[in-house]
């Protein structure tokens, strides 16, 4: 079994800036997912990217996947204070890490 490991642990930016979070994993995958967790709430699915995809977009979210480096990144463009949350990645077997805590200052 393996899990995604997010990096950095914490990220603080100003509203309007872009936020980039990274996820690394150890073995081959079929897909990778990103989730968001607001404080005191459950996780909410954001996006899934399959191993044969290199990039995927959803609104202000852009996810990339580099299977040769066993890594993925989540980019949030034009961040808003409401984007403040923890972001987690999960590999095929739905194992998560400790997430990246994003704070967007108004």
């Amino acid at each position: 079994s393996q899990q995604g490991e997010e990096d950095p642990q914490a990220l603080s930016i100003q509203e309007g800036e872009n936020a980039t979070m990274n996820c690394s994993y150890k073995t081959s995958i079929n897909n990778l997912q990103w989730y968001r967790q607001n404080s005191g709430r459950g996780l909410v699915h954001l996006i899934l990217i399959r191993s044969n995809e290199r990039e995927k977009h959803s609104g202000r979210l852009r996810v990339t996947l580099d299977t040769s480096k066993k890594s993925s990144s989540l980019l949030i463009t034009a961040s808003r204070a409401a984007d403040t949350a923890s972001y987690f990645c999960a590999t095929d077997d739905m194992r998560f890490g400790a997430g990246t805590r994003l704070t967007v200052k108004p």
């Binding site: 079929n30 709430r41 459950g42 699915h45 095929d92 077997d93 739905m94 890490g97 400790a98």
Partner: protein, 118 residues
């Protein structure tokens, strides 16, 4: 209607007690999960059931016993509670198993049950 609901939301109890957390999903999903989130926000999978059958059983003490009376319910019973069991426990469901090439992609989480052991 809440898709995945857990009860209770908060639970405070003494060491050595036995307690249960209940989970129900009304999404018609076949697969349900229990996760434990510790104080450092690390989210660890504990169990996964598919159509009432245990699929994933991580290295979890025997004091933790999941029970799935039907595919819409997955309850977690904890015996002889210890201080280290204090955490937020999340239930989740998905349409099918996260197996190679067949996974449709999304876990739906409950709002969590915060367990505090004194």
């Amino acid at each position: 209607d809440t898709a995945v609901s857990q009860t209770p939301k908060y639970l405070v109890t003494q060491m050595g007690n036995d307690k249960s957390i209940k989970c129900e999903q009304n999404l018609g999903h076949d697969t349900m999960y229990w996760y434990k989130q510790d104080s450092k926000k690390f989210l660890k999978i504990m169990f996964s059931y598919n159509n009432k059958e245990l699929i994933i059983n991580e290295t979890v003490p025997n004091r933790f016993s999941p029970k799935s009376p039907d595919k819409a319910h997955l309850n977690l019973h904890i015996n002889s509670l210890e201080l280290g069991d204090s955490a937020v426990y999340f239930c989740a469901s998905s349409p099918n198993l996260p197996i190679a090439g067949a996974f449709t992609g999304e876990l739906f989480f409950g709002e969590g049950s915060r367990l505090t052991v004194l």
